[in-house]
């Protein structure tokens, strides 16, 4: 309690000296020091964006990077400490850990619903540290990047990634618009080791599909993650199956129950790349931008002709992860069975 008061006083004092106020995505006015040096990311999507704009200011990852993930980052940033998460399912970072890290700012990227606003308010009141909330949806990313850049004092560095995302999204929209409704295949996204969980309409897990205007067979179910009986999947008879689970991808070919599904018959079952962060589903951050190209090419091969996924990946990784992957890494990423059509 005393520590919080002292910290609050320090922040207030330094704030009086040199502060600026920037509104976050919910309209809350966030008062930060003119020069923000230490940023605590509340969840993985936030840590990615902060890392992109100002890797030196990120205090740590929410979960320590595994060796295969760390290989995609410059060594000095890969080794940042693990700090835990503040929000989302399974949230519960120790507030003392938070205070001990002495951040100037807490950044959270994701839902801006009332629950999360109240959580932000509570943490801010308890710790005295400004807590900024940003919209994590794909289409909101350019604005998020720019506002976050202002808050961190990195406007110039934010320009390139924000413009890049804007261009990519516009390009995807343009190509998707060329595809008539009838030519869009039925898609099923299978989660879990048995592939029997999926995202319903509006679920964040299938945001990429929604952006691509794809026909998610599970759209008749509303809400987040749902369990689908296998019979129902057979009834939907998807023409394309996407998954992030290697066990499911491996098992679907020998499983007699899936054999009759169109997607399996035509061998249009694909596994999304997952390093360093998944391209399609989780974590629900900017890492999914590549998923738009990957899935778009799989669903609408004609409209997405000429898109070099490899080149897109190299460019994205360089811009956002600050390290262009070498040829070997790209091979490992894209040549994994199931990622691309044979």
């Amino acid at each position: 309690m005393t520590r919080a008061l002292v910290l609050w006083a320090c922040v207030a004092l330094s704030g009086l000296a040199n502060a600026k106020t920037v509104p976050d995505a919910t309209g809350r006015q966030i008062t930060v020091p003119a020069s923000v040096q230490r940023v605590y990311a509340a969840g993985p999507p936030a840590s990615l964006l902060v890392y992109t704009l100002a890797p030196g200011k990120l205090l740590g990852w929410t979960r320590a990077l595994r060796p295969d993930e760390a290989a995609f980052f410059p060594a000095r940033y890969a080794k940042l400490p693990e700090l835990g998460r503040l929000t989302g399912r399974g949230g519960g970072a120790n507030l003392e850990v938070l205070l001990d890290a002495r951040p100037d700012l807490i950044v959270d990227v994701g839902s801006t619903a009332a629950t999360y606003v109240s959580l932000a308010e509570r943490v801010q009141a308890q710790t005295g540290i400004p807590y900024a909330l940003f919209d994590g949806r794909l289409e909101a990313l350019p604005a998020t990047l720019r506002t976050l850049g202002r808050m961190l004092g990195e406007q110039s560095r934010a320009r390139r990634p924000a413009d890049y995302v804007e261009r990519q999204l516009a390009e995807v929209r343009r190509r998707v618009a060329q595809v008539p409704e009838a030519a869009r295949p039925r898609v099923y996204y299978g989660r879990g080791p048995a592939g029997l969980q999926t995202g319903g309409r509006g679920s964040i897990n299938v945001e990429v599909l929604q952006f691509l205007g794809a026909r998610n067979v599970a759209a008749e179910a509303r809400g987040g993650l749902v369990a689908a009986p296998l019979e129902q999947v057979l009834l939907w008879d998807p023409q394309v199956i996407l998954t992030s689970y290697a066990e499911f991808w491996n098992s679907v070919w020998d499983d007699p129950r899936w054999r009759a599904v169109s997607a399996v018959r035509e061998r249009r079952v694909y596994l999304s790349p997952h390093l360093p962060f998944g391209w399609f589903d989780f974590p629900p951050g900017v890492n999914r931008l590549l998923g738009l190209w990957w899935a778009g090419k799989l669903l609408y091969p004609d409209a997405f002709r000429g898109i070099d996924v490899r080149a897109k990946a190299r460019e994205f990784y360089r811009l956002f992860y600050h390290r262009a992957p070498d040829a070997r890494q790209l091979d490992a990423l894209l040549d994994e069975p199931g990622v691309l059509p044979r």
Binding site: G90, G91, P193, Q197, P229, E231, L234, E247, P283
Partner: protein, 334 residues
């Protein structure tokens, strides 16, 4: 005696009818005509005309129906055995921690990102290990009523296992592993494959055999320990066998279907209200009712909505009023 025969006949008829219904309904529309054609094709050895129908009925619905029957019967049998052994009608198959142990095994496997077969294997092993541990500790506690020692040990160790599960849930990746864990813990017959039955059925039968063979002696477990021993029963050995048998049946069920509650608790009651406590009469009826009950519940779970409803929810919602009604109209005591 007359009412007993009627109860059996009713249960068999209900189960048969439910099996027929379960085969004919589902999200994927299969008409009775198509069903009949399929059966004839299979019997005649010809290839089925519609491969999709064959897949739905033979690979998905069939195994699922059989699994519901197997799991329902196993849980009911285990519950019946335990209620007799613990002389307490409020006992469920999980009293010695088999479900919690299996849950821990499965959660650990999901946490380690293992495949479906490994998850089932871990669940089965976890269930057996938990009961073995609890039984071993409980039987070492001298100077107490042996049953009370078992129950208390089960409660304590079960709580410990539960906290381990909570810890794993906390450490799990919230986007990836945690939802899978949550779904598993809710229990479901949705992903039953024929191979699951090939493994689980023999295990369940292995557990059922001693119960059937010892059905007369099991009645004596309802007596105070001294009396049973004075009548010539080795109560320690018999209890150990009952625990082993019930655990095999329950662990096999939980491994393929996750945790489905209420069946093991309510069904033995219902059966006892109909035919009395003699284990030889009670066990077959409890198994029939358990199979029918779970089959009815599962059929509802997979047909009501495009998404799956956890069977544990429906078993509670349907089972409780049914049981209350049965209790109200019956004149017997336990």
């Amino acid at each position: 005696m007359r009412s007993h025969a009627a109860a059996y006949a009713l249960a068999v008829a209900a189960l048969a009818a439910l099996i027929l219904v379960a085969f004919s309904v589902g999200r994927y529309p299969v008409s009775v005509g198509q069903l009949a054609t399929l059966v004839l094709d299979k019997l005649g050895g010809t290839r089925p005309l519609a491969p999709m129908i064959a897949t739905v009925v033979l690979e998905i619905r069939g195994p699922r129906v059989l699994a519901a029957v197997l799991v329902g019967a196993s849980l009911a049998a285990a519950g019946t055995a335990y209620q007799g052994m613990f002389r307490n009608p409020l006992v469920s198959p999980d009293i010695l921690g088999v479900s919690t142990g299996a849950a821990l095994g499965a959660v650990l496997a999901i946490f380690l990102s293992l495949g479906v077969f490994a998850i089932q294997g871990f669940a089965f092993a976890g269930g057996l290990a938990a009961v073995a541990l609890i039984y071993w500790i409980g039987s070492r506690l001298r100077g107490h009523d042996p049953l009370l020692a078992l129950v208390l040990t089960g409660v304590v160790i079960g709580a410990l296992l539960g906290s381990a599960i909570a810890l794993l849930k906390y450490l799990a990746d919230p986007y990836n592993q945690l939802p899978a864990i949550t779904f598993w813990l809710l229990g479901s017959l949705a992903s039953i494959a024929p191979r699951d039955l090939e493994v689980a059925a023999p295990l369940a039968l292995l557990g059922l055999a001693p119960m059937l063979l010892l059905r007369w002696r099991m009645n004596l477990l309802a007596l105070p320990d001294d009396e049973a021993r004075a009548l010539g029963v080795d109560t320690r050995l018999l209890r150990a066998l009952v625990v082993a048998a019930a655990t095999l049946m329950t662990a096999a069920s939980v491994a393929i279907a996750g945790i489905i509650g209420w069946v093991g608790l309510l069904v033995p009651h219902a059966a006892r209200l109909l035919v009395g406590p003699d284990f030889g009469r009670l066990l077959p009826l409890a198994m029939l009712i358990g199979a029918a009950f779970l089959l009815a519940v599962d059929t509802l779970c997979r047909t009501i909505a495009p998404i799956e409803i956890p069977p544990g929810v429906l078993t509670a919602v349907l089972g409780t009023p049914f049981f209350l009604w049965l209790f109200a109209v019956s004149r017997r005591r336990w």
